[in-house]
Subunit: 135 residues, 2 copies
DNA sequence: GTAGATGCAAAGTATTTGCGACAAG
DNA sequence: CTTGTCGCAAATACTTTGCATCTAC
């Protein structure tokens, strides 16, 4: 297990308020990729007084701090996920919206190669596969 | 050269209005990937009376008809591009916003393989590389 | 002639922000 | 204490929509 979100906040000098602690906790316990609205719902169950503005401010802060990543999957709202060392991409079930995380070293390597071919250093990438379940 | 957008409209039974003709023409002449606002600007220079609502309606229609594709690159607004047979992905210069189109057959193949590994049939995908130019 | 398209302005979403009250370090 | 955060509501940005009018076929 890697650092908790709380530990990350401390080590990055982010002030740890009650609200942030709750949002961090909820994100840690979420294995799906909630959007801000959904996160707000979950957080509200723990502390009903937290405002949605704080949730927006916090996910943005956590994203800038490298604690969360933001995904903008097709047509939907922004969704967030905890950022750990292990990078991965996403396979999205177009029927159910279910998300499967995967890693493919070979694809990663090829991406770097493509960028280099055009004279670029790869700093980030996004790969999303959309599929339907085979019977 | 493949079919023009106008030909595609005819063959797909999309009514060809003056506004659509202009939007089609502007998209055909755009080698970058304009967002709706930019497209509206360009279109307005040809016919100032076209409303932005029509531009939104038209890009959506063209997207559903398979004439344009929509991209939602990081943090920005939706951007559109003409859809031709040749599929390609994008390499985005994070400094300048410049977009390079590329194709890598090997990556395509691997994507299909990954989807299959999880029991899915790949119906769509999105690959974006973000890079900085090497000196 | 008729179904569908347009322009306009109003309504939706998703997200951000100004501000006075409040809490963490 | 002091700086930064919070809650609230108002503001913004992007996109969609209702409706009366107009146009392609």
């Amino acid at each position: 297990m890697s650092e908790t979100i709380e530990q990350k906040c401390l080590s990055k000098g982010v002030k740890l308020t009650e609200q942030r602690r709750i949002i961090a906790q909820v994100m840690s316990e979420s294995s799906d990729h909630p959007d801000v609205d959904e996160l707000y719902n979950r957080v509200s169950k723990i502390d009903a007084k937290i405002s949605i503005a704080t949730v927006y401010r916090t996910v943005k802060l956590f994203e800038e701090t490298g604690i969360l990543t933001k995904h903008e999957f097709k047509g939907g709202k922004a969704r967030y996920e905890e950022l750990n060392e292990g990078h991965h991409d996403h396979l999205i079930d177009v029927k159910t919206g279910e998300i499967i995380e995967f890693v493919d070293e070979e694809i990663e390597k090829l991406q770097k190669k493509v960028a280099e071919k055009y004279g670029y250093k790869l700093v980030d990438h996004k790969l999303e596969l959309y599929g339907v379940k085979k019977k």
